[in-house]
Symmetry: D3
Subunit: 176 residues, 6 copies
């Protein structure tokens, strides 16, 4: 029986912190599926398809990693793709409490699902997508927080803006 794991998240955008967690988990699983959860309530900064494309490109040479977009309960997504593990990175104490509540809930919904927690390198601990988006919106330099695939894609987008949420003239300043 192969070990299939779902790594659910928003990845808006995927950061070096996420990449660190994913790479560390590869020794544990035979297949890791990165699941971009659609959230009806929150408007993301970057479109779902772009976030999917970024993840697929980053792992194009790693056959064990796949990326999908999913809707609805994470536990249901696990069933659909045959995953019995959920991967989550924990950075902060407040993260941990929320993550534990979600893990308990998922275990209640489907007792065959186990949530695995990993911690990233200390230098990535504060690289939260929320903070990165804030820097991006204000034209700050994000080169040290994001994978090269994302950085190049964002540079390209200065010519043809990808999303209305990003003020393009500020974005230009972000990559000097």
């Amino acid at each position: 029986m192969s070990r299939i794991c779902l790594f659910p998240g928003t990845f808006d955008p995927v950061t070096l912190g996420h990449i660190d967690i994913i790479n560390r988990s590869l020794g544990l699983f035979d297949k890791l599926v990165i699941g971009i959860g659609k959230n009806a309530n929150k408007a993301p900064m970057f479109p779902d398809e772009l976030r999917l494309e970024w993840l697929k490109q980053i792992y194009k040479d790693e056959p064990r990693v796949d990326a999908i977009i999913y809707e609805g309960l994470t536990a249901n997504c696990c069933k659909k793709i045959g995953a019995t593990f959920i991967l989550r990175g924990i950075r902060y104490v407040s993260d941990f409490e929320y993550e534990k509540a979600i893990a308990d809930m998922n275990r209640s919904l489907d007792p065959t699902i186990e949530t695995i927690f990993l911690t990233c390198l200390p230098q990535f601990t504060s690289v939260a997508s929320t903070l990165v988006r804030d820097v991006l919106r204000n034209g700050g330099n994000v080169a040290q927080f994001l994978p090269e695939v994302v950085l190049l894609s964002l540079k390209d987008s200065e010519k043809k803006p990808i999303t209305k949420n990003v003020i393009s003239k500020d974005l230009k300043k972000s990559f000097n």
Copy 2:
């Protein structure tokens, strides 16, 4: 002098975690009033009246428990109903800090009010209304988190939808 206590909250919906806290508190007070706070900023999933009805039905044979809807400051509601105690359940560390700040604020507004904290059974610790609503919205099975009165009411609502926030076709799946 009788001991009257207000248990303020949103109860959107009331969960087995709330019921556990309420039942545990009954040895302490002569009268417990469950107060559904109206919050202008947050749109609840279930209408105020339905939430009130659920609570009233659950405790219809317990004369010490009553339920009301209130607006404005919790401290003012206490004064109106003659309560000198506020009851709060604490599940998580992050809950505790927020609850303590609110309790300090209420004590500042009215020094005669004392906030009492209880903890629920460990198995109910992760049964937060927020998570339950999320499962409900996505058609997951909520039978293990909610009182029977609420479950039956939700089953009924499949025929005649109670609220626009709940996508009724998903709700159907929640009670198989």
Copy 3:
């Protein structure tokens, strides 16, 4: 049925923070028994009997409050004195986690026991006995942290030292 509560602790020494919690709880219970737990592993700064005497003197005019010394499990002490409630003050987040674990354990040992948590006034939040003992040992001024009964007793002890743990020549400096 009267509401009897045990307030277990070390009270080494009793501080204004303890007094604040005790006084706030008096509206809740018909009888509050302050239980000085004997701990074989920790050597207290002040002898059990002195700590008991302090508490008895502070509450000599309050018939609802009593103080005892007890050994063994707190749950057993509750049974012996007919208490169905345990009172605990919580100051900090780290307190809360430990207190919740103890409360869960006591509930496992005896499901009829309920632990009640209160918070003290913000100004007493940092008045931990450990810190007060440290100030005492180093001859600092403790007048703002301790009840008058304790302060007077400590002043007296300069002439006839009460405990070997307290270096008497430093203690003298503590009450200028």
Copy 4:
């Protein structure tokens, strides 16, 4: 070289907790600039200009303190005003984690910026602007949480309402 510090925040409204932090910091810096950050996503209760006026009036006799409104990254604001320090007050554990993540991010954006944390007096720990706004909206008494300049200004506003978010008839009740 003089020590210039930015104290960024929303100050909606400025509370006695903020004032306590500011006054404590004055021994550390030659110049403290209070920066009211414009946040496109959150609608404040009080207009930027009013919040600025309050701060300027409170510190009109203290030449070391200035107040400004700024947009964009806090790190950029520091550069503009020549500040190499950022001041933040921490009240709660959950505050601390968020503040540390922001401080790490600011240090990544500009390694010459150092974030300094102070704690206020325990009695101001629960005086959060969010809670104060809630009391204000519901006509509660806020006299013990706000500086006199703000209290007087709010009393005046009963005649000529300053902001649509504040329901003026409730505000009247807040200052008896």
Copy 5:
């Protein structure tokens, strides 16, 4: 390449909480070695050999689980047994911070070692060995916290005491 994992701890005694974590981890690893760490500073309640025997007996029919006693750095023990994973259960927020610091340290000492965190069922969250030992010492009922193998072994020990730390006459009361 097989996935070998070390589960380091004191297991003084092994509880149902430990067993829950171990059983949940079996889907992740090909081999799980439970490592009883010898700690020169702390005197355990039960002898190393007894704790080892308990673990070996509990898992005598599970070839994937082994138990050993080790001294020195956990990272060195991993190297010796060929483990590239360390397993830790996290129950509380304060656990998590300490565990993260240890995990960071182990990663610094040997970058090929990854620490995996699991959470146990909510009902086992408060079953800490420290609390169980306290109940045991005071003759309380521990049947709901410990595996049957341990319970039987402790009952036997009433006739022939296993350790001086356990007061045998109290132990008798623990198994009614």
Copy 6:
């Protein structure tokens, strides 16, 4: 008036985390005095004089930094050296709560003393002296956690052991 600050601690041994905090604070103070607190209850791994020597040597070219050994209350030490500031680094949430209680206590003892909190670089967050001592005792490699002055001194000590707590044959392995 010059800004004098005391940085109290045990420094057993001083780590790169301490050094990071000290260096960051130098922009704030005219004089920083590192105070090695003598603690009657805890036996340090390294003698006071050695720890003092290490600090003095590390900062021998920085006239703003001095190091002393002190006994008794930290607030009294501040008075003696004319310091009105206490510096503390905070790494973890649990650190913060304890540090805040100590800071409140020091402010109660002497209202002219202000405690300043700084955070170190994320990569030093887990470099606690306790963990470093544990690695040292077990012969692990500590080169990445300690200043060069300390590393050289420890290497020297292989020939002539400095302290009984350190098992010299293990120490040899620590510096390959």
